[in-house]
């Protein structure tokens, strides 16, 4: 194992975050605060409790997941797309590193950023509503698992994309709708019956439900199913990455 290479890539990526601190951290914090103002304070005051939790409190896990998901994908996809775009990827390809090491470096850094960001958003939320986390370790586990899984997914998008439109397309056209329809702002049980069934095909529902369970012990689906689905998606991403490096898809001629 070439740990020195993993470390080099990881630190390089983290350094990029510090340089773009404003984009990386400040803007998600601002947008989360806006959600609280709009949904929590303005609209939430007119909605009664959901499953015994005030509406403002109810949306916190969903909001954190929303940011972690989108930021994981955008960080990781950009992290690998950019060197491909400017050509500096040649160095990584010519270095004595295995694909596992490359993935650990890039995805590790992207996931780290997302976890830090998720915690910052959680802190921000704590300023608006009282928070009580029932299972902090599970909460952290869900956070890390989601960050890793979707960073890996973003990594795949970054390799697949050969222009900026494609890089933006998947997050914009697929991920954002799925997250908004994934129960961030409502309980799936509140939906009328055909929609409820349809929603269960949305993997994000399971992520948010599991994450919310770690906070309030309320969930739309069983937490075990949530963990299972997330691991399943992680496994699919891993297989795709393995295939990418085996064939050199979009990386090597």
């Amino acid at each position: 194992m070439n740990f020195s290479a993993v470390r080099a890539i990881y630190l390089f990526e983290m350094a990029r975050t510090w340089r773009t601190l404003l984009q990386s951290v400040v803007s998600p914090v601002i947008s989360t605060s806006l959600y609280f103002v709009v949904f929590g304070a303005a609209i939430g005051s007119r909605i009664s409790e959901i499953q015994g939790v005030s509406y403002g409190t109810f949306i916190v896990p969903g909001l954190v997941m929303l940011s972690v998901l989108t930021q994981s994908i955008s960080n990781a996809s950009f992290g690998i797309y950019f060197p491909k775009f400017v050509g500096t990827i040649y160095e990584v390809l010519s270095a004595p590193v295995s694909y596992v090491e490359i993935v650990l470096g890039y995805v590790g850094a992207a996931a780290t950023k997302s976890v830090i960001l998720g915690l910052i958003i959680l802190g921000t939320a704590g300023l608006f509503v009282p928070l009580h986390i029932h299972h902090p370790l599970w909460m952290l586990a869900f956070l890390v698992l989601t960050a890793v899984t979707f960073s890996l997914f973003g990594f795949i998008i970054g390799i697949w994309a050969d222009n900026f439109e494609k890089l933006q397309a998947i997050p914009l056209l697929v991920v954002t709708p799925l997250t908004f329809l994934g129960g961030s702002f409502y309980s799936v049980n509140m939906l009328p019956s055909p929609w409820r069934t349809i929603t269960l095909f949305n993997p994000v529902v399971y992520l948010i439900s599991g994450f919310r369970w770690s906070f309030y012990e309320i969930s739309d689906v069983s937490p075990a199913v949530s963990v299972g689905i997330t691991f399943g998606f992680l496994a699919v991403c891993m297989i795709v990455v393995w295939w990418i490096f085996k064939t050199g898809y979009r990386l090597k001629n």
Partner: protein, 308 residues
């Protein structure tokens, strides 16, 4: 001695179906400077990309230091430093950071003293804290060399190192390469400047249309293919050549003032002595004479033309 790079029957067909390399066989000896000479599109960059792991090969085998580049890629790649043809650099990192990154990527423990030496050798030391984006093109090229040398490779690939570089920088680059060879580094450079190959290389390989046409020691190549021309500047003008001089295949310039005799430096008898006495017999007088040796450029153009 075992070659440090051994390429056998290497073929590369791009996804487009284009065959960029066609059965390349090439051995590079340890410690030499090898120039790969060929026109644009000959396949130089493709060959280098495969050896360095940036492109996949379609058929054949490549060994670096005795290690297969696919089965044993870790060892093979750790021996190589690559400076690609295009200027691909980071933008916002400092020179120091980007060069240190390269060393880490190649799995070498930190060694600030080595990086300092590399930067000093390449006259980049006073720029070490500058962001790369602020550097000139020539300096960026040197940053890329510094990155390639950061992990102390035994082999350095320079893909068209002086393309688009001004004369002074080019001379500087040649100096760097000579220094590297003194330190035992094997250098493989590609170029389409004949001058560069002529100036620096120990051996020259000529590649055209994906095939190696010839590999030869530079001196031998010059000798083997180098023909000399003897130019006689006549005292008067000559309209036609006397029949007695026909065996020499002389060439008379249009203005009738010069006679050109082409001869082979390798042959036992160049024929110069008899030519001069036959000229005297024909009463042709000259006021001056000069000889010129054909340059690598002419040799090259000839080769590519006949090889095509």
């Amino acid at each position: 001695m075992q070659p440090i790079i051994s390429v056998s029957n290497l073929t590369k067909t791009y996804a487009s179906g284009f065959k960029a390399l066609n059965g390349i066989n090439l051995d590079i000896q340890r410690g030499e400077i090898f120039a790969l000479l060929g026109p644009n599109g000959a396949g130089k960059t493709t060959l280098i990309s495969i050896i360095c792991g940036i492109a996949n090969l379609s058929a054949g085998k490549v060994e670096v230091g005795g290690h297969d580049i696919n089965a044993d890629y870790r060892v093979a790649r750790s021996l190589i430093g690559l400076v690609p043809q295009e200027l691909h650099t980071d933008a916002f990192e400092s020179v120091w950071a980007t060069v240190s990154f390269s060393r880490g990527l190649f799995g070498k423990p930190k060694n600030p003293a080595h990086i300092e030496k590399v930067l000093k050798d390449l006259s980049l030391w006073d720029k070490k804290d500058n962001k790369i984006i602020t550097l000139s093109g020539g300096m960026k090229r040197r940053v890329m060399i510094a990155k390639a040398l950061s992990h102390e490779p035994q082999i350095l690939f320079l893909d068209e190192p002086t393309a688009g570089v001004d004369v002074e920088l080019r001379k500087g680059m040649w100096e760097v390469v000579r220094q590297l060879r003194e330190n035992g580094v094997t250098v493989i450079l590609t170029t389409h400047y004949i001058e560069e190959a002529e100036e620096m290389a120990d051996r020259i390989g000529v590649i055209n249309k994906g095939e190696i046409i010839l590999v030869e020691e530079k001196a031998k190549l010059m000798q083997k293919l180098g023909r000399k021309q003897l130019k006689l500047h006549l005292q008067g003008r000559l309209d036609t050549l006397p029949a007695t001089l026909a065996p020499y295949h002389l060439e008379l310039t249009e203005d009738g003032k010069e006679l050109i005799y082409t001869y082979d430096t390798q042959s036992e008898r160049t024929g110069i002595t008899t030519l001069l006495s036959d000229l005297r017999d024909a009463d042709i007088r000259f006021k001056d004479l000069s000889t010129t040796q054909s340059s690598l450029e002419e040799i090259f153009v000839n080769l590519v033309r006949t090889g095509a």
